[in-house]
C-alpha cells in the first residue's frame, strides 16, 4: 500500500548505545561450529562486536536516558511533545504500555497522544508513518518517535543463527510539521502467513513461561534453544527479503517519479552484512550508497538499526547538508516497509552511550 505525506519533516535523531560490548571471538565456544567455521561465519556475515544491555536495563531506561539528554542539552522541550510513540517488542511489562511508564517518569504533560506499537525490524518506517499521521491533527505539532529493544535477553547464547548478530539500543526521532518540505512517499506491506518465521514461542498468554518452556533443546543444526528464546527460520527470512524488498523499493521510486540517481543513500535495516550486500547487488545500486556497517559495530537492534545507520554514517553532516534518503525495514510479522524522505537541517544527529 502506498502512503504519502506532505508538510512533515524529521528535525532530530539521537541513538542510544547500551553499556556492554561483546566481541564475536569471545563467544565462539558457545557454538557447535569448529573455530574455522565460526571465522567463516564472521567474515561472510560481517560479525565483529555488538552492544547489549546489562541484565537490569530495560527499554524504558534507554529511552529515558536519551530523552533526559535532549532535555538537558535544550534540544527538546518537554512541554512541546504532543505525541509519544514507542515501537518495541521488548516492553517493560505486558501492561501498562511502556510509553506510559516513560511518560510518567519524565513527568510529561497530560494533553498528548501516547502509544506503544508492536513492530520489529520494519518498526522505524512504521513508527514514522504513525508519527506523520498524528501530525495531520491540528493540535499535534511535534511527535517523539522512540524505537527501542532489548531483545538480546531473549536470544540463546548457544544459537549461532541469532546470538552473533543481536544487539540492543534505542533511537529517538523528532518529527514535526513543516510548510516547505517536499512530499514523503512510503510503502507498507504485510504477510501474516509468515508470522512464525521469526517468533518467541513462549512467554505470552498463549504459552506462558514455565519450567518446561525453559528446557534447552538442540535443533538439527546443533543450536541450543528453549521455547522462551527467539527463533528464526534464516533461509525463509533471507528469501523473503530478496524476493520482496527490491520490487517494493522499485515501485516506491516509481511512485515518487525518481530514479536510483536521485537517491543519496539507501538507509536499510541491517540484520547482517551478507543480506545488505545481496540486496544492493539485486537492486543494482552501489554498496557505497547502502551502508552495512552497523551489525559489525553495534549488532542488530531491530527497529533502531536505520536511525543508527543515519547517526553513525552521516551524524553532524545532517545539520548542514541535505540528503535524499530511501529507508527500508523488513522482518518479523512478516512486515516490510519503505520510505523516501529528504533529510536536512536537523537540530541534532548523534549517538550517545547509555550510562
Amino acid at each position: 500500500m502506498n502512503l504519502q505525506f506532505n508538510n512533515k519533516k524529521i528535525t532530530g535523531i539521537l541513538t542510544v548505545l547500551p553499556e556492554k560490548e561483546i566481541k564475536f571471538e569471545d563467544e565462539i565456544d558457545n557454538y557447535s561450529f569448529s573455530s574455522s567455521q565460526s571465522m567463516k561465519l564472521k567474515l561472510i556475515m560481517g560479525y565483529n562486536k555488538r552492544r547489549v544491555v546489562k541484565e537490569n536495563t530495560t527499554t524504558s531506561d534507554l529511552c529515558i536516558f536519551g530523552l533526559n539528554y535532549l532535555f538537558e542539552k535544550k534540544l527538546l522541550n518537554k512541554d512541546e511533545i504532543d505525541g509519544l510513540v514507542l515501537v518495541t517488542q521488548s516492553p517493560d511489562h505486558f501492561m501498562p504500555p511502556t510509553s506510559h511508564i516513560i511518560h510518567g517518569i519524565l513527568n510529561l504533560k497530560q494533553d498528548m497522544v501516547c502509544m506503544d506499537i508492536n513492530q520489529g525490524c520494519s518498526g522505524y518506517v512504521i513508527g514514522l508513518n504513525q508519527a506523520f499521521m498524528l501530525l495531520e491533527q491540528e493540535e499535534i505539532n511535534k511527535v517523539v518517535l522512540l524505537n527501542a529493544d532489548t531483545l538480546s535477553k531473549k536470544v540463546s547464547k548457544n544459537d549461532r543463527n541469532n546470538n552473533p548478530q543481536i544487539g540492543d539500543g534505542a533511537a529517538i526521532t523528532i518529527v514535526e510539521k513543516d510548510i516547505s518540505n517536499s512530499p514523503i512517499f512510503s510503502s507498507v506491506k504485510v504477510d501474516g502467513s509468515g508470522s512464525d518465521v521469526l517468533i518467541i514461542p513462549a512467554g505470552g498468554f498463549k504459552m506462558p513461561s514455565s519450567q518446561e518452556t525453559s528446557i534447552l533443546k538442540k535443533d538439527e543444526s546443533g543450536n541450543l534453544r528453549s521455547l522462551n528464546h527467539l527463533v528464526m527460520q534464516g533461509d525463509n527470512v533471507f528469501n523473503f527479503v530478496q524476493r520482496e524488498v527490491p520490487p517494493m523499493v522499485e515501485k516506491l521510486l516509481e511512485s515518487a517519479a525518481v530514479t536510483d540517481n536521485d537517491i543519496d543513500y539507501y538507509m536499510f535495516h541491517q540484520p547482517n552484512k551478507f543480506m545488505l550486500k545481496k540486496l544492493a547487488s539485486k537492486m543494482g545500486c552501489s554498496e557505497e550508497k547502502m551502508p552495512n556497517n552497523i551489525v559489525e559495530n553495534f549488532g542488530n537492534s531491530s527497529g533502531a538499526t536505520i536511525p543508527m545507520t543515519i547517526t553513525f554514517n552521516l551524524g553532524n553532516k545532517l545539520l548542514k547538508e541535505s540528503f535524499f534518503v530511501c529507508m527500508a525495514g523488513f522482518g518479523v510479522g512478516l512486515s516490510w516497509a519503505s520510505l523516501l524522505i529528504k533529510l536536512e537541517n536537523l537540530t541534532f544527529c548523534e549517538m550517545i552511550d547509555f550510562k
Binding site: F33, Q37, S221, D235, N239, Q242, F274, K278, K282
Partner: protein, 71 residues
C-alpha cells in the same frame, strides 16, 4: 548452467566435485554453505531454494536437478 559445478565446488572449498558426491560428505557442509548456495542460485538463476529442499536433494546432481526444475 555451465558454471554451476565450478561455483558449487568453490562454495564447498574443494578443487573439483563429482555429480554423485553426497552434499553432507563435504567438510564445509554447514548452514552457512547452504545460505551461500541459496544466494548463488537466486542471483545466477533467479531460483528460490529453501534449506530444507537443498538438504533433501542429497547429492550434487540432486541439487542441480532441483535448480533446473525451478528454472
Amino acid at each position: 548452467m555451465e558454471n554451476f559445478e565450478s561455483t558449487i565446488s568453490e562454495i564447498l572449498e574443494v578443487e573439483s566435485i563429482e555429480l554423485n558426491d553426497y552434499l553432507e560428505s563435504f567438510d564445509a557442509w554447514d548452514s552457512l554453505t547452504i545460505l551461500s548456495i541459496i544466494a548463488f542460485c537466486d542471483s545466477e538463476y533467479k531460483v528460490t531454494l529453501s534449506a530444507d529442499e537443498i538438504n533433501k536433494s542429497e547429492t550434487i546432481n540432486g541439487l542441480k536437478e532441483l535448480v533446473k526444475s525451478k528454472m
